[in-house]
């Protein structure tokens, strides 16, 4: 440093805050430059993210820990093996504004065992399973509604009937509403599993990872 230590020190000075030049723009809470006059809250949307991962111990803990720590709003998470030994597919349903969805994908990508991440945006094939246990007082009616939803009875006794329904999220939600009348005792839902539709590949990975 070339500062001369013998000079008289006066302390900090300069124009006060209200005398300074000011910028004209503004950013929103997401750091995006916006028109200062229009203050729009970013809209959240629900989407499916699919991750193709190496099947190593702890991978699920890492993924769920990441979503928790970074406060991503997660609706469901499923994991299961794929056609390739040693690799699993994790399907996440999240609800976030666009920047949050982008961040979630990027943060997932930073995890070493994660080989491919994408959002399944264009009309994916998605499916969920629910198991419903209801009171067994009206077996005929339960049977009729189960058939309406292409479901199946798994267990029937004098006091309870347990059925399974599969389908997309809204179908499962509707079915649960419909069974409400019988008195639902317990529900187990799997969360959604999903693939890209038709020829489109869900995970584009090179040969090393198949």
């Amino acid at each position: 440093m070339s500062r001369n230590q013998n000079v008289k020190r006066d302390g900090l000075e300069g124009p006060e805050p209200e005398e300074r030049q000011r910028p004209v723009g503004r950013r929103n809470a997401q750091g995006i430059r916006v028109d200062p006059e229009v203050e729009a809250e970013p809209q959240s949307r629900r989407t499916i993210i699919s991750a193709y991962v190496e099947n190593e111990p702890g991978v699920l803990a890492r993924v769920s820990g990441l979503f928790h720590r970074r406060q991503f709003n997660i609706e469901s998470l499923t994991v299961g093996p794929t056609q390739n030994d040693g690799y699993s597919r994790i399907t996440l349903v999240i609800e976030e504004p666009d920047p949050g969805i982008e961040q979630a994908k990027k943060q997932l990508n930073r995890l070493l065992p994660v080989i491919h991440v994408r959002e399944l945006d264009s009309n994916p094939v998605a499916c969920e399973l629910v198991i419903l246990k209801v009171d067994g007082d009206e077996p005929d009616k339960v049977q009729a509604i189960t058939e309406m939803y292409d479901g199946e009875a798994l267990d029937a006794g004098p006091r309870t009937i347990t059925v399974q329904i599969t389908g997309d999220e809204s179908k499962i939600d509707d079915a649960i509403d419909a069974f409400e009348q019988f008195g639902i005792r317990e529900i187990a839902r799997t969360g959604q599993a999903a693939l890209a539709r038709g020829e489109e590949e869900t995970a584009v990975v090179d040969e090393r990872h198949t």
Partner: protein, 579 residues
């Protein structure tokens, strides 16, 4: 002061190379293959096989007083050398004591490899003696971590951890080493460190994106470069300097970016953010095009997001895509290594921005808001003056380390940094106690450079036991305690935001640090007057070994300029009444 020097005990280490027989041998060979020369650690049950294998190695192990010290020393070693620093600890408390340091390295993307002992595999999950789920605990604060499950591959795990710490966006990695794995059989040399095939950090940015960014920058009226720590990590300081100078673009830095651009250059506006210079904060607020390189737009830099560079198009260069548009949206994302992308940008720029007016404006801000402090003729001593005195008395390549608090900010503001890797501090985590162990790591990494640690009395008390290590290793470091008998930064905030209620921030009694130093076998100095200061600066720097200079400073001195948390950088306060 005591002039006596402790002799390092006669070293009985047998250094005949040993063939690989166990997992521990493979671990040690993997480190040797990586070119490691120094290790920082503390012994203990579960890591003993690794230490036993080290007995035959030429690598130099430095026994620290506390594992936190080992993790900070390794971190500073990583900052100064650019190569991963290595720390070792046993299972359980040894491993958990590393956590603060790993979190610190993770926030600052510093290259560190931690090796932790673990209970034997069969005992894992049984709550065995000194068992902790180290991989679970350290997962969120490491770039990657591994549980070694096979003595025959453990050497490669260590190599992988080393390569991952060093390549791409740097960071801390950890390998947990169960005792049966390090004791188990192995024969193969683990080879050179290699990143896994799934790890492919970007090198150059997309050429189209670079071209667009170059057009935007060349068209700017008020261009500004924001240089972050990534510039230093990527060894891109030369590229940054020639780019900024050729195109005459003013440069501000983040705190980790200090040293990337010489602060005595006329284009330098020094550090921006909470305690940045007035001129840096004016420039960062008024710019219309910011080239931000290797920065994650931390809130201490940005202040409130809404008012951060609100008129600027942002060109963001970063090796980690997740940092781009995380806090501040990038208009021109350039994903790649800072050195490579700066070279691309240089080629793509066919003209410089015409920004004479802007440059004049920046010079005017420099004249309007000079960094200064009110120094009366009389005592108490002003801390800023102490920082300047050491800066004047030392070479440009002197390394500065710090604790966390006011003293850290004065060390930023009143020392003029001109070289990369000379500013070694705890930025993102803000870890009190970092300074002294970091000085040890820095000195081990750069034995030919002077190392000065500016510490606070509070910070020094957190890790001062590491003085024993500096004495044992006879490390020539100078610790300057800017002693205000308070955890001053907290007291400053209480003055400003908590009605001057000094709850738990003032020390009614502080140890005599000069005597404490002497008890450890270091040289101790006490300074109360400006006259004493001159001598103490000279003698402490001349002393061949660790010294501690306890400078009793003005306890009322506060750090300004200041942007309150979440505030508007352009409205920085020059004094408390402007907050």
């Amino acid at each position: 002061m005591s002039g006596e020097q402790k002799q390092a005990p006669a070293d009985a280490t047998d250094t005949t190379p040993k063939p690989i027989e166990t997992g521990a041998d493979a671990v040690v060979r993997a480190l040797e293959n990586a070119g490691v020369e120094h290790l920082f650690g503390v012994q203990g049950g579960a890591i003993m096989p690794v230490y036993d294998a080290l007995y035959h190695s030429e690598m130099h192990h430095i026994t620290m007083a506390h594992e936190q010290g080992a993790s900070h020393a390794a971190d500073a070693y990583g900052i100064v050398s650019g190569e991963p620093g290595i720390c070792l600890a046993t299972s359980g408390p040894g491993a958990t004591n590393l956590v603060t340091g790993l979190a610190d390295s993770n926030m600052d993307s510093d290259p560190v490899v931690a090796l932790t002992g673990q209970v034997p595999t069969d005992f894992v999950g049984s709550d065995a003696f000194q068992e902790t789920d180290t991989v679970g605990v350290t997962g969120p604060v490491t770039k990657a971590n591994f549980f070694a499950d096979d003595s025959r591959t453990v050497g490669r795990d260590v190599g992988t951890a080393f390569a991952l710490a060093e390549h791409g966006r740097q960071g801390p990695t950890l390998v947990d080493l169960p005792k049966d794995v390090t004791n188990g059989p192995a024969e193969e040399d683990p080879g050179e460190p290699r990143t896994p095939t799934t790890y492919n950090p970007p090198e150059t940015a997309a050429p189209d994106a670079v071209a667009e960014a170059a057009v935007a920058l060349a068209a700017a009226d008020k261009p500004l470069i924001l240089a972050g720590g990534g510039v230093i990590k990527a060894e891109a300081c030369e590229e940054l300097r020639s780019f900024a100078i050729e195109h005459e673009i003013p440069v501000v830095t983040t705190m980790p970016g200090i040293g990337s651009f010489p602060e005595d250059h006329e284009l330098s506006l020094e550090m921006a953010g909470m305690h940045g210079t007035g001129y840096a904060n004016m420039a960062i607020t008024m710019t219309d095009c910011m080239l931000a390189i290797g920065t994650r737009f931390d809130d201490r830099l940005t202040g409130g997001i809404e008012t951060f560079a609100p008129d600027a198009e942002i060109i963001h260069v970063d090796i980690d895509p997740a940092e781009v548009s995380k806090n501040i949206e990038a208009d021109y994302p350039l994903i790649g290594d800072a050195k490579a992308v700066l070279t691309q940008l240089q080629t793509a720029m066919d003209r410089s921005p015409s920004a004479d007016e802007w440059r004049e404006q920046c010079q005017q801000w420099k004249a309007e808001y000079p960094m200064d402090y009110a120094a009366p003729e009389d005592e108490p001593i002003k801390p800023q003056y102490v920082v300047e005195a050491y800066d004047l008395a030392t070479d440009d390549d002197t390394i500065v380390t710090t604790g966390v608090g006011q003293h850290q900010m004065w060390a930023c503001q009143y020392w003029s940094y001109t070289e990369p890797r000379t500013w070694v501090s705890s930025h993102g985590l803000g870890t009190m106690g970092y300074g002294l162990p970091a000085a040890i790591g820095a000195k081990v990494a750069a034995p030919d450079q002077d190392v000065v640690c500016f510490d606070g009395d509070g910070s020094f008390l957190m890790t001062c036991q590491e003085l024993s290590v500096a004495v044992r290793e006879n490390l020539d470091i100078t610790v300057v305690v800017l002693n205000n008998a308070a955890i001053g930064m907290v007291r400053q905030w209480q003055d400003a935001f908590f009605g001057e209620r000094h709850m738990a921030s003032e020390y009614p009694w502080v140890p005599e640090f000069d005597k404490l130093a002497e008890a450890f076998g270091a040289a101790g100095f006490r300074v109360d007057t400006y006259d004493e200061l001159g001598d103490a600066v000279e003698e402490s720097l001349a002393y061949d070994g660790p010294s501690v200079v306890d400078v009793h400073i003005d306890p009322e001195e506060n750090v300004y300029p200041m942007v309150p948390s979440g505030g508007d950088n352009g409205l920085f306060a020059l004094a408390e009444d402007q907050l």
